[in-house]
Each structure stands twice: as structure tokens, then as C-alpha cells.
Amino acid sequence: MSGYREACQSGRFVVSGEIGPPKGTNVAKMLHHIDLLRDKVDALNVTDNQSSVMRLGSLAVSHEIVSRGGDAIFQLTCRDRNRLALQSDLLSAAFLGIGTVLCLTGDHPRVGDHKEAKAVYDFDSVHLIQCCRKLNEGHDWAGNELDGPTDLFIGGVVTPEADPLEPQLYKFAKKVEAGAQFFQTQAVYDMDRFQHFVGRAREIAGGADVKIMAGLVVLTSLGMAQYMNRAVPGILVPDALLREMASVPKAEAFAKGTEICARHIRFLKENRICDGVHIMAIGREEVLPEILAMAGLG
């Protein structure tokens, strides 16, 4: 049922993209991106009220991707739902033919556009992963037997550039123990450091069959790269890349960003550093086919 799961289990290099649902009911651009990308990648992540900004829901859009013949990675955060709502949405996902879920804590409402909202966090991301496994095994969180289990492919996230890193690694270990089958990372830009991180992560995962996908956010300008260094926790764009972005005229910066992204994909694939990539072009998803072609995956 899940193309993403099969791709991960096949052993080949896996590629996912990302769809950010709109704030409103005008879905034309989003549907255009879905149709453009669904056959070019193994799956499309659908963000869940990303950055705590209220938007069209990830469950509905994940279903739309599946019904259009693509595969979706349903992102589910603990911010907005208690354990009843989380489990109900997971059953709904299974019912709608969505086979893959990515379990996240979720940004705090304070950083979004409804700052007065009550933050839920009844579960944390480790609990949500445990809960997916329980549902797969035919029981709900409270231990009640389900009339029909789920068959979810369960994912989590990890931040390789977290500072400090050690608590992040402990949490990664807990997610593996809880039942995570694949990980997508926060955006990484320093390939040497990422290679080192994957080595540590593999050691921690021990014998567990856990797939690790590098998160790649396409740089659009020097200013954007500097902004991420300054303002986004857990993202580090190294000086060499800042210089590279600065080396071209502003009008060519985005093209440079796509070139860097393609170069990183090629490096990760050819050196078998990780099991795949998750590419985020944040609103400019139409560039993805070109990046994949440049990376030799088109």
C-alpha cells in the first residue's frame, strides 16, 4: 500500500519532497505541485500546521495525494491534539489509504499565528511513535483491542546539528526503541559533519533496521542562508556555502542553491552516506525535477 515503505525496503536511494498546504481553500497551486512531483519522488510529506500557522489539514491533503496516484507522508504533530484525537486521526489515515506517518512534536503555538492557542502536547513525539506501533499491533494506547489494526510505516525526525547534540541523540535512541522505522533529519548543509552524525546514529540504532533520510532545504539566497543560521535552531550553513552563495549575482542565487542541493544529493547517494533524502523547496517545489535531474536521479 505504501510506495514509500517499499522504496525504503528495496535498498535503493529514496527521495521525498514536501507539500505545504495553503492557508485557505485555493488549492490550485498545491494541486499543481502535487501533479508535477508525485511521479518524480517516492512520496510527498504533507506538513501539519507548519510553524504553528493554521492551514488546510495534512490528513486531507495526504489523502488527495494518494487518490491522485502518489504516495504521502502524513505529518502529525502533538501540538494540537490529545491522545484521543491523535489516534483517531491515525485510524482515519489508515482508512484513507495513507500508509506512512511522520511523528513530530510540533512547533510551539507561540511562534505561529495563533499565539493565544492552548498548546496540547499530551503525548510527545516518542509517545506518538509508540502509539503508532500499538495501533499496528491491534491495540489502542489504553490497551483496548482494535476492530482491525493499522499498518503504518512509522517515521520520526532528528536534528543532526542540535546544540547540544547529546540530549538529541538520547531522544533519537528512544524513538528507535519506540518503533520508528525511518528518520528524516532537520536540514543539513555540512556533508562531513552529517556523515559523522549518521555514523553515530547507526551505532545508536544498533541492529535496528532504521532508514535515515537527509533533510535538504534548497537555499534561495545568501540572506536566507544567513537568516537560518541566525534564527532557526538546529540549522547550520557553513561558511564555505555562504561564500559560494555570495559568489554569484543575486539573480542567480536560487540557481546556485539548487546546484548545491543537487551536489549534496549526489554526494550522499554516491558515497552511500544515508538511505535517501527529503528535499524541501519551501513554496518553490517546481524546481524539484530539475534538482533531481542534476543529481542524476531524474
Binding site: 510551539h108 499530551d122 509517545h127 546544540d163 538546529g234
Partner: protein, 223 residues
């Protein structure tokens, strides 16, 4: 200590619209320490209400407003004044406001916003370290509470928003998970960091909380 802040005077006057005679109740405990309902604040409030055209028929400061029997006794000493007043303005936490509620059928109006159970760092500086969750987990976290001190109340490690040891939600605040991690390492109890902690049992702190028999039951038991 219950930490509170003063409501804006305009909001209080709006609440007291139509009430000509007012009785002000302060609190000698938390509201005195946080300077929201002690002697000085009660006197200032009296002056502000009189300036706004109200008649303040009485003031008093109860040792601790949350002690319902004490409060009842203090108000009783004022006799008919409290029976004839239009409204009570209470300068204490919401618990104290409702002690007054339990003792009168007159209008009762809060003069402060109650914030949290806080530790007093020094005068005017308060921090929340306990959120009264009903099932103390401090032993698992080196006596640093993630339920109260992590903005998301996470139980199994930091979120992706931890930023050079600070919290994404408030960059002036240390990430509770970095503190917990350092403390448990110091104690040589790394196993506490690796064990998956179950989610909280929120039924343990479900509202309204109560210890002891319900009021009705107590009444029944009276001879």
C-alpha cells in the same frame, strides 16, 4: 507562592460599574509578597477607587485569603458594613476571591490576575518550577521538572527548538532539557536519560481538584 499581577485599574473600574460602595479585601500571604494585595496596594486601590467616585466602606487584610474559615471570621468582624456593601474587590489570587464568594451573596470582583505557583528568586522576580501535575516525576529528572519548565512539557528529551541551550519559545530561558541532561550526567544516572518515560496521567490533576470529603458528605456527617 501564588504569583499574580495587578489588573489594570480601568478594567477594575469597568467591572465595578454600577457599584457605589466597595469593600476591599487584601491578603497577607502571597499577594503581600508579590505586592499585588498587601497593605500598600490595598491603600493605593482605596485611593484610586475614591478618585473614580466610589465609596470605599471598608478594607481588611486576611492572614491568608485561601483559608475560608479565617476569611469568614475577619469579614464577620465588620458586621453590617459587609452586608450592605454593593461589591467586594479582592486583591489576591482566584482562590482568595472565591473564599469571599463562599461567604457572601454580594458581587465579588477580582483585582489581580493569578499567574502560577512560583519560586521567589528575589523581590519582583518569580519563576514557575512546579505546575501541580498530581504525580511528581522529579526523581526521574534530577529534580528539574520538564512538565513545568519545558515550554512543551516534553518527557523524553528536547524538541528541535532547543537553541544553544536556550528555549525557542523564550530565548532568555534555559532549555529545561539541557539542564536535566547536565544534572543527570553529574549524578551519574544516565539510565534516567535513556528510559522512555510514559505520558502523564492527566486524571491525577483533573479539575476541580479536591482532597477530603465533598461538602455535601461533610454536612451529612454533622450530628
Amino acid at each position: 507562592m501564588i504569583i499574580a499581577k495587578k489588573k489594570p485599574i480601568d478594567e477594575i473600574i469597568e467591572s465595578l460599574k454600577g457599584d457605589a460602595t466597595i469593600f476591599i479585601v487584601g491578603c497577607g500571604e502571597c499577594a503581600t509578597v508579590t505586592q499585588t494585595g498587601g497593605e500598600k496596594e490595598v491603600a493605593e486601590m482605596k485611593a484610586a477607587l475614591e478618585k473614580a467616585g466610589k465609596t470605599v466602606v471598608g478594607v481588611d487584610i486576611v492572614a491568608a485569603n485561601c483559608q475560608e474559615l479565617d476569611l469568614k471570621r475577619v469579614l464577620r468582624q465588620h458586621g453590617r458594613v459587609t452586608e450592605e456593601v454593593d461589591a467586594f474587590l479582592v486583591l489576591s489570587c482566584g482562590a482568595g476571591v472565591q473564599s469571599v464568594r463562599a461567604d457572601t451573596e454580594k458581587r465579588v470582583v477580582p483585582g489581580t490576575d493569578s499567574l502560577f505557583l512560583g519560586n521567589v528568586k528575589r523581590a519582583g522576580v518569580y519563576e514557575e518550577k512546579c505546575s501541580l501535575c498530581g504525580q511528581c516525576v522529579l526523581d526521574d529528572y534530577g529534580a528539574i521538572c520538564p512538565v513545568a519548565r519545558c515550554a512543551k512539557g516534553l518527557l523524553n528529551g528536547p524538541c528541535g527548538g532547543t537553541n544553544h541551550g536556550k528555549c525557542e519559545v523564550d530565548p532568555d530561558r534555559d532549555c529545561a532539557w539541557v539542564l536535566i541532561h547536565e544534572q543527570l550526567k553529574k549524578e551519574g544516572r544516565a539510565e534516567k536519560l535513556t528510559r522512555i518515560h510514559p505520558p502523564m496521567d492527566w486524571s491525577a490533576s483533573a479539575h476541580p481538584g479536591r482532597v477530603g470529603p465533598a461538602k455535601e458528605e461533610a454536612a451529612v456527617k454533622k450530628p
